[in-house]
């Protein structure tokens, strides 16, 4: 996509002397990154100021199944509700669940990954559990749990977050293993540092940038998971969500007629997840110039 742009800009000639600030600048100066960050910012603003942008959609309206127009930018559904308002309010749910679930996954995944990387006995158990979790079909598993608990934004967050950590753990563990083998870790051990201190003060700082990448990538997956569960009827019945708009179209049988009812929430999912993924991947590339060639 923009790999050539990246190789020219991400490794400026001043690379060895880059300060923290200028590497952030180099990161943000890439066009794909700037665009992604802009999209993410707009989404965050939409989520925060949803009540100012559109009234929360509820009840039935007179304009049923209207195509997009000046009055209804994204058209209306079979109940006459405004799709634009549904998409705006859906941004809230998607962002909240995406971020909160990814934070749960990051905390669990980092703790397990680091413990596995440094403490041998834990590694065996953690690897088996991670492998098992990665081998199972996650969506059916989440469906099963979400069906039993009464679905709300918080239960969905917990379920999604709880099943997203294995990928983070695997990533952090592999990086942690490399760092655990470095001489300065041996040095710390010789100086008498405890295992806890080595993991939290020496290894953790070295994986922080990987954690930032993971937050973005895990949040992307969490948004997709939430949309999937909502689409299957397991979303929070009191909160608008992009998956729920698609479900409404599916249930009312308007998929083939009202293209606007499915197109706009789909675009919202695509934009949000694509931006988060791109921002995450480019951050990863900036962090490690050796990867740019691949």
């Amino acid at each position: 996509m923009s790999a050539p742009v990246l190789t020219e800009q991400a490794i400026p000639p001043v690379a060895p002397a880059t300060t923290r600030r200028s590497s952030w600048y180099a990161y943000l100066r890439q066009p794909t990154v700037a665009l992604s960050v802009l999209v993410l910012l707009v989404m965050v603003l939409m989520a925060v100021f949803a009540p100012l942008i559109a009234d929360e959609p509820s009840g039935a309206g007179p304009d049923v199944l209207q195509p997009p127009s000046g009055a209804h930018w994204f058209g209306t559904d079979d109940l006459g509700q405004d799709i634009f308002a549904q998409v705006v309010w859906g941004t809230r749910t998607s962002l909240v669940i995406g971020l909160a679930a990814s934070l749960i996954a990051i905390v669990l995944g980092t703790a397990i990954g680091l413990a596995a990387a440094y403490f041998r006995p834990i590694d065996a158990v953690a690897t088996v559990i991670t492998d098992v979790m990665l081998a199972l079909p996650t969506l059916p598993l989440m469906i099963m749990l979400a069906a039993v608990v009464s679905p709300s934004v918080w239960t969905l967050t917990l379920i999604i977050g709880f099943f997203a950590w294995p990928e983070v753990a695997r990533l952090i563990r592999s990086q942690g293993l490399v760092i655990s083998a470095m001489p300065y870790i041996d040095g710390a051990r010789v100086l008498g540092a405890t295992g806890w201190r080595i993991v939290t003060r020496e290894i953790l700082p070295a994986v922080v940038s990987l954690m930032i990448v993971s937050v973005l990538l895990t949040a992307s997956r969490a948004v997709i998971s939430e949309a999937g569960l909502s689409f299957l009827g397991l979303g929070d019945p009191d909160a608008w969500s992009w998956g729920r708009i698609l479900l409404n179209a599916q249930r009312s049988g308007t998929i083939a007629i009202a293209w606007w009812q499915t197109l706009f929430p789909s675009l919202a999912i695509l934009l949000l997840v694509l931006s988060a993924t791109l921002a995450g991947m480019r951050f990863n590339d900036t962090r490690d110039p050796r990867r740019n060639g691949g």
């Binding site: 996509m1 790999a3 050539p4 088996v128 559990i129 492998d131 098992v132 990665l134 081998a135 199972l136 079909p137 996650t138 969506l139 059916p140 598993l141 469906i143 099963m144 749990l145 069906a147 039993v148 608990v149 009464s150 992307s220 997709i224 949309a227 999937g228 689409f231 299957l232 009827g233 397991l234 998956g243 698609l246 179209a249 599916q250 998929i255 083939a256 007629i257 293209w259 499915t262 929430p265 789909s266 999912i269 695509l270 997840v273 694509l274 993924t277 791109l278 991947m281 691949g294």
Partner: protein, 317 residues
């Protein structure tokens, strides 16, 4: 080889056992456990107790667990709440459709992904390579129902090229039935391929670039082997192995995607069954469907690993 197959089979059994055990206890520790779900509000306490006794829910947890496992081993997944029928029968009715859908998507992704990945690796930096990189990254952001609905609206409803739902036209016989089957399969399979293909071809490309830089490929070049033979015969053989592992790991995602695609196209597989069961709050069916899908994925994953062993001379013993 025998030892490898045995240890892989053991790992598969262990995975399924851990999955079943953890979900059994998780489901019973969650706030809305099966007891409260099944017992309707207006029952007298005596009726509730009798009902719980019938289903064995009044016994200690570990006793329930042992009998649950015993039943599971015999293939008993319980009775559906809504259709008074064994869950196993209901799911086995639907499973072949999901296997057909996910299996076709798997095979076609590999078949199409190999030439794309290899061509992109050989023509590094050219348009196909750049397109693949863009596609590979954005595939991550594709939401299966969105893709499925787009295909349904465009190729199904607007152009009328393909049916918009179902798996087969019941009036067809013989060859016509197979054609109808394939015709109904096109759009659901295509939605899965579109989501799976990018990352797969991209992995293959990366592996291929790495392999093509190795000494034995240069040696082959020095011996005067044609570029085509070097790439497709010597290189591909090694580049394909990590890509195969990736496909094995992606099986869970593939099945998750199938659940969503089936829902959009009213395809009569396990996924559509799950969607219906969610609407009817038929918990034994949902739980049974998860277990069956998990077993399917784990078996398919084990088979992929064994295929890997067959293709990789370093494991073949």
């Amino acid at each position: 080889m025998v030892r490898f197959v045995l240890s892989r089979a053991l790992k598969a059994v262990l995975t399924v056992w851990i999955a079943i055990t953890s979900t059994f206890f998780l489901l019973r520790l969650l706030p809305g456990d099966p007891t409260t779900l099944m017992v309707e509000g207006d029952m007298t306490p005596e009726m509730q107790a009798a009902l719980l006794k019938t289903y064995g829910l009044d016994r200690p947890l570990w006793e329930q667990y042992v009998s649950y496992l015993r039943e599971l081993v015999q293939g008993n997944l319980g009775i559906s709440f809504r259709q008074i029928q064994p869950v196993t029968d209901i799911i086995l009715d639907r499973l072949p459709w999901t296997l057909l859908l996910a299996g076709s998507a798997f095979v076609l992704t590999v078949a199409v992904g190999i030439p794309i990945g290899v061509t992109a690796a050989v023509n590094r930096g050219k348009w196909l390579d750049r397109a693949l990189q863009g596609f590979g990254i954005s595939a991550n952001a594709l939401f299966v129902p969105s893709v499925a609905i787009l295909l349904l609206v465009f190729f199904g409803a607007q152009l009328g090229w393909f049916p918009i739902g179902g798996a087969i036209d019941p009036d067809t016989r013989g060859v016509g039935a197979y054609l109808s089957l394939a015709h109904h399969l096109v759009l659901p399979v295509l939605s899965l391929i579109l989501v799976q293909l990018g990352p797969y071809a991209l992995t293959l490309r990366t592996n291929m670039i790495e392999v093509l830089g190795e000494d034995y490929i240069r040696a082959a070049q020095a011996r005067g082997l044609s570029a085509r033979r070097r790439v497709w015969k010597h290189g591909l053989r090694n580049a394909i192995l990590p890509a195969l592992t990736l496909m094995g790991l992606q099986l869970g995602t593939l099945v998750g995607g199938a659940v969503l695609t089936e829902t959009v196209f009213a395809y009569p597989g396990v996924g559509r069954l799950i969607y219906e069961a969610v609407g009817q709050q038929d918990y034994p069916v949902i739980q049974g469907a998860f277990i069956m899908l998990a077993v399917t994925v784990v078996i398919a994953n084990a088979l992929t690993d064994m295929l890997y062993a067959v293709l990789n001379p370093r494991i073949r013993l």
